[in-house]
Symmetry: C2
Amino acid sequence: MIRIYLAGPDVFLPDAEEQGERKKALCQKYGYEGVFPLDSDLDPDAYPDPRRFGMAIYHGNLRLISSCKLVIANLTPFRGPSADVGTVFEMALALGRGMRIMGYSNDPRPFAERSREFVTKCGLKNQTTFEDFGLRDNLMIDGALDTAGWPMVVPKAPVQDLGRDLTAFEECLRIVRPL
Amino acid sequence: MIRIYLAGPDVFLPDAEEQGERKKALCQKYGYEGVFPLDSDLDPDAYPDPRRFGMAIYHGNLRLISSCKLVIANLTPFRGPSADVGTVFEMALALGRGMRIMGYSNDPRPFAERSREFVTKCGLKNQTTFEDFGLRDNLMIDGALDTAGWPMVVPKAPVQDLGRDLTAFEECLRIVRPL
């Protein structure tokens, strides 16, 4: 069965394990095996300090990615106007290794609009320019997805729970079907 | 001469070109050739719409990265508690392709502390957990740099201009010297 690495800030949800199970169930529905970043199932007590535990998670994630054929990245903005950096890292690493990638976001707003709103909302003294190419996030992200063959997938109607909604995720599974 | 790709949100500075020149001059001082993301020197008028121009920049950056042996990523937080996603993308892609990577940040605070401060400052209703491994950013970033041999470089003393200071960048050039 083709394995799909489920990259995303879903791991930071208080119900991360359950979110992983929901995503895996959807993968199964479409004939895939979902691999969630927490699947390494590491024991924090096995490491002498938090730093070593963090490093073990890093290596665990690399192993999981290597075991998959495709990465579906949840690029919903996380603590800022852009996607979670850990997710972007995993997606780009996979691409660099020649793997296939897809991505979705539960926030369909254009990147420039979202960035400007963010700067205003957070009262940041902005001294940098805004990327404005009509894309959904930084052009390296949109560029990679478009080039890979599937532009960023977004929900057709606004969703209630940006952190958990799986409409766009399921759409990825539908689109990628003839892998 | 060994070419180094200078990834970073420096490209969003109003004086981006000058910042690029400053970084290139430092590279030269250490015997390297610095390659700045704006070096593709694309003409926006040559593209039918902003989206195509954005895509051209993406492909231009990939070409520049391919022409280099090492990426030095400016991982100073950008519009949020983490590094700029475009920079992280480029660093991870390079790593996936088997290139060498280094990174620096002008903000030496631990990631967990910075993330909590950010959520408070921006009045976000936080419903997600905080990564707390005593690292400088998301564990995929620190994990990659540590594994590559050089943990994230930070300035020894606080710097005035987080967006432009090149103390930590120069330290990268010093450390990498015996490439």
